[in-house]
Symmetry: C2
Subunit: 113 residues, 2 copies
């Protein structure tokens, strides 16, 4: 609760959006879905539950518009973007960033990527 | 660019997620889709483009888990939640919050809602 009386608690401590958008085959941008995004998102959701991360939410989202870099994930409120290509990447993000608070530098996407 | 050399610019100045999840008819929680969420999201996306809000993104998302309060929208990095039930609500959020930076108090959802 902030001093001005407004309730500024976040509803989720970390809110993760995993792009699962599909583009038609042959589209030059590619898409996250064709790179395994749906199963990685499902894995992330299950793993977060298994880790007891009750104050976070792992959502699917529509196209995050960084198709070439996918599978893309964005973590809010931090505004940190990732390419997560494997279960190992997902586990690293969950453990090091979502649970322990330290972004995973080697998986991060930057504004000019 | 932060002083430590890390690039901390947000990729989108405001990133809006509109729940468009559908639950089976009769589910006691209801769902955002049954309350017009898809057309409201499409309206918001088109209106944002028309307003020239090039540094924001209006995304669809899976279930934000506040079904009873829908149609729900969350705006990041702010972490501000809304119930937007009409085109007028959507326009108010776009104009007052997304463009001008002042959250729309009377449409906001709070953590204990």
């Amino acid at each position: 609760m902030a001093e001005n009386g407004k309730d500024t608690r976040p509803y989720f401590r970390k809110h993760v959006f995993c792009c699962v958008n599909e583009r038609p085959e042959g589209n030059p941008r590619g898409c996250c879905k064709s790179k395994g995004a749906v199963s990685l998102r499902n894995y992330m959701k299950g793993k977060a539950k298994q880790m007891g991360l009750d104050d976070v939410r792992i959502n699917s989202s529509g196209c995050l518009d960084r198709c070439e870099l996918g599978p893309t994930i964005v973590v809010y409120p931090d505004g940190i973007w990732y390419r997560a290509e494997s279960k190992q990447d997902v586990e690293e993000i969950l453990t090091q960033h979502i649970r322990d608070g330290s972004p995973v530098e080697h998986l991060m996407l930057h504004p000019d990527d």
